[in-house]
């Protein structure tokens, strides 16, 4: 059965290991940091500039979970909205390398690290992506390996 939402997008068979996608950029404002922190990570060093200056971070910085969520947003806009994504399976080896401070611009790349067909669900393939997210000074901010399901065009036909 064809999915009308994703039928014209790239499918599992159209993807190549080693393919690199540019994530574009997002500039992180004070308002974005505080709004996210209020709901999900209300430590004083994500909410209050004076408390943040006195902390290990040395200034107002985004929650690591927000940095991850923004990386995901860039991935959806740049790549995932153009493929027949059937949902995420999870991720591994997430590392927060440097804090993201107010006014920082983050961007980077994802690389298709692995493509394999699902053994139990022939309608899907599993794509693993390596994230390399950096700030405007080219310092690493976040790395992780994400696993996502992608619809196959022809279920069960070995790639």
């Amino acid at each position: 059965m064809t999915n009308p939402v994703t039928k014209d997008r790239r499918h599992f068979e159209d993807l190549t290991v080693g393919e690199v996608a540019d994530l574009g950029h997002i500039t992180v404002s004070k308002e974005m940091i505080i709004t996210f922190a209020r709901e999900f990570d209300p430590f004083p060093f994500h909410l209050d500039e004076a408390a943040a200056k006195a902390s290990l971070l040395g200034g107002l910085a985004s929650s690591g979970w927000q940095t991850g969520a923004l990386s995901l947003r860039m991935l959806v806009d740049a790549f995932l909205s153009k493929v027949a994504s059937a949902g995420g399976l999870g991720f591994s080896d997430l590392k927060w390398k440097n804090p993201v401070m107010v006014g920082d611009t983050i961007g980077g790349t994802v690389t298709v690290a692995e493509l394999r067909r699902s053994a139990s669900h022939p309608q899907w393939g599993i794509m693993t992506l390596d994230f390399d997210v950096r700030n405007q000074k080219d310092q690493p901010v976040l790395t992780m390996r994400l696993a996502n399901l992608i619809d196959t065009r022809e279920p069960g036909v070995p790639a």
């Binding site: 999915n3 009308p4 939402v5 994703t6 709901e39 999900f40 990570d41 209300p42 430590f43 290990l56 971070l57 929650s63 690591g64 979970w65 991850g68 969520a69 923004l70 995901l72 947003r73 959806v76 806009d77 995932l80 909205s81 994504s85 059937a86 949902g87 995420g88 399976l89 999870g90 991720f91 591994s92 080896d93 997430l94 590392k95 927060w96 992780m144 399901l149």
Partner: protein, 185 residues
């Protein structure tokens, strides 16, 4: 948790409470951070493998983090009320693994639970320890929503800096030697 590293008991279970996910907040989070059609549009989502709207995994994980922060604050208050000095929890270097199992649909209630599975002194930051935390999220049917293996820093109570380090630190405070030492390191 907000205890000194030395007081943390391996395999002790901390219930973190639960959260009921409304359709509005699922769409609000997805609009900002994960705008895929099955997180945004209940009608289009019927064509997906989920058959309807589901929360972004990153949303359920962010709520789990909030639950953990609330539990840390609550324990800190409890210790202070007992006249004890709470420990200090530090930043997290990362997440070893995060596995999404059953999706979260509007109206689902997810319960979160934390277990410290292991701990050791940090090799890179003197005076701090590493905690290996497992966070599990379960829905109202008892199905596993996600399981995360997280790493966090926790401050050691019984730590005295070695003499060599203390001397080095004192040297960096001298006006001329400090900048030289910093340049060298």
């Amino acid at each position: 948790m907000t205890r000194w590293f030395e007081d943390i008991v391996i395999d002790e279970v901390f219930p973190l409470g639960s959260h009921t996910f409304g359709a509005d907040e699922i769409v609000r989070f997805a609009t900002l951070y994960d705008p895929q059609y099955f997180h945004l549009d209940a009608v289009a989502a019927q064509h997906s493998q989920f058959g309807g709207l589901v929360a972004s995994g990153w949303h359920t994980v962010s709520v789990g983090h909030r639950k953990m922060v609330d539990a840390l604050f609550a324990e800190e208050e409890r210790l202070l009320a007992e006249g004890r000095q709470p420990g200090v929890s530090g930043p997290s270097p990362g997440v070893n693994s995060m596995v999404f199992k059953v999706p979260v649909r509007p109206g689902d209630t997810v319960s979160y639970e934390l277990v410290v599975t292991d701990k050791r002194a940090s090799n890179s930051i003197p005076g701090w320890g590493l905690l290996f935390n497992r966070l599990t999220a379960t829905n109202q049917h008892g199905e596993l929503v996600y399981r995360a293996e997280l790493v966090g820093f926790s401050k050691l109570r019984d730590y005295s800096m070695p003499l060599k380090l203390r001397l080095l630190l004192a040297l960096t405070k001298l006006p001329l030697i400090g900048p030289l030492l910093k340049r060298g390191s």
